[in-house]
């Protein structure tokens, strides 16, 4: 058997080098891509069916004297802080006691590339009666998914944790069926003057920025008992 010389291997090394360069270039191109941001389109035309019978996700009694509408973005850090720090107190002291009805509306900002996907994941969880549970997990895990190229896997993990029927959840996510509803919510927020997240509509007035639970309580009290 004739020994192979180093020079005899040169064409082989050249082929190997070409494959390596092409592969690395392809991976670099994919890594520089937009990620899964485009999963839920923003440029949808809102249809009447997108908003028919839907005015946000509601928590609390229909008979509560005060309604608070929150416009929020799952990828916004201030919304995350509000959802994880202030909201538990608000739920316990104001919503569970029947004093406030809370309405959550999506207001996904364009600079947050996973915000619409997160809103869509929550909408798909809502189909299986787990909106608020999904809402809480998405906010609690914001640091885990916000800077990923793809956030869909994280949301699916949450769906699994919540015991959702994954086939149904996947079908819902693949369909993008709530893209119009999310956009409708965003447009409605714009119409009433929401410019940043979180913003709250309380007693016909917009309050921008994360409110402390005490401040929400104070506003609710002032509306419920205007004479005080």
């Amino acid at each position: 058997m004739a020994a192979t010389t180093r020079r005899g291997l040169t064409p082989f090394y050249a082929v190997l080098g070409v494959i390596a360069l092409a592969g690395v270039a392809l991976l670099a191109y994919l890594a520089a891509g937009p990620g899964s941001a485009g999963g839920v389109p923003a440029n949808v035309v809102v249809q009447p069916s997108d908003t028919a019978g839907f005015r946000g996700y509601v928590m609390g009694a229909d008979t509560a004297p005060v309604e608070v509408v929150e416009y929020a973005d799952y990828q916004c850090p201030a919304c995350q802080g509000f959802a994880t720090v202030q909201m538990p107190d608000i739920r316990r002291d104001l919503i569970a006691t029947g004093r406030v009805r809370w309405r959550y509306r999506d207001f996904p900002l364009s600079q947050h590339r996973h915000a619409r996907l997160a809103a869509h994941a929550a909408a798909c969880a809502d189909e299986q009666g787990k909106f608020w549970e999904m809402h809480d997990l998405i906010y609690a895990g914001q640091a885990d998914w916000a800077f990923r190229g793809n956030a869909g896997g994280a949301f699916r993990d949450y769906a699994r944790q919540l015991g959702l029927e994954l086939g149904r959840y996947d079908g819902c996510m693949d369909s993008n069926r709530y893209a119009g509803r999310i956009q409708a919510s965003f447009e409605e927020g714009q119409r009433i003057g929401v410019q940043s997240t979180p913003s709250f509509l309380i007693g016909g007035r917009i309050y921008a920025g994360a409110l402390a639970s005490d401040r929400v309580r104070q506003l609710v009290d002032s509306i419920a008992s205007p004479g005080r």
């Binding site: 058997m1 020994a3 192979t4 010389t5 180093r6 291997l9 082989f12 082929v15 190997l16 494959i19 390596a20 592969g23 690395v24 392809l26 991976l27 994919l30 890594a31 891509g33 937009p34 990620g35 899964s36 941001a37 800077f147 990923r148 190229g149 793809n150 869909g152 896997g153 994280a154 699916r156 993990d157 996947d170 693949d174």
Partner: protein
């Protein structure tokens, strides 16, 4: 020699496939080109990590090791040695076993098939076959017979 060249090419392809899956797993790549989406299901499953490390990273390291061994085995001074083929057979044998375990998980536990994982399983299987062929080709009896036949 051609077997070792084949192992080198397949190992390089294996590195690229594993790196693709690893980059997806750590979030550097947005979506996987995977048809029905089985890759995302598998990659987001708890079984995409083994002993706390991403399975795809084991692939990158394993294929890199196979590439290094095969390239060293191609050097003129190592050409007649058996150890590169033995080592490639051992490493790829472990890889085949691991791939079988992962394929079992995909089929019967996760119930989703990741096409790129299948590609990797085929690559490691082919490397194992090439290593066995190389060893057979260099079997002492055969080498001895060839030596006798040489003028």
């Amino acid at each position: 020699m051609k077997y070792r060249m084949g192992v080198a090419v397949l190992s390089l392809l294996g590195i690229l496939v594993s790196a693709y899956l690893y980059l997806y797993k750590i979030g550097a790549i947005g979506t996987l080109a995977c048809g029905a989406g089985g890759c995302e299901t598998v990659q987001s499953s708890p079984w995409s990590r083994f002993l706390g490390i991403e399975v795809a990273l084991y692939g990158v390291v394993g294929y890199l090791g196979l590439l290094v061994v095969s390239l060293v085995g191609l050097q003129p001074r190592q050409e007649a040695r058996r150890w590169p083929d033995d080592l490639v057979a051992l490493m790829s044998g472990v890889g085949v076993g691991f791939s079988l375990y992962l394929t079992y998980l995909e089929l019967f536990v996760i119930e989703a098939i990741c096409r790129w994982c299948v590609v990797s399983a085929v690559l490691i299987g082919a490397i194992f076959v090439l290593a066995l062929l190389a060893r057979r080709h260099r079997h002492p009896g055969r080498v001895a017979r060839e030596a006798v036949q040489e003028p």
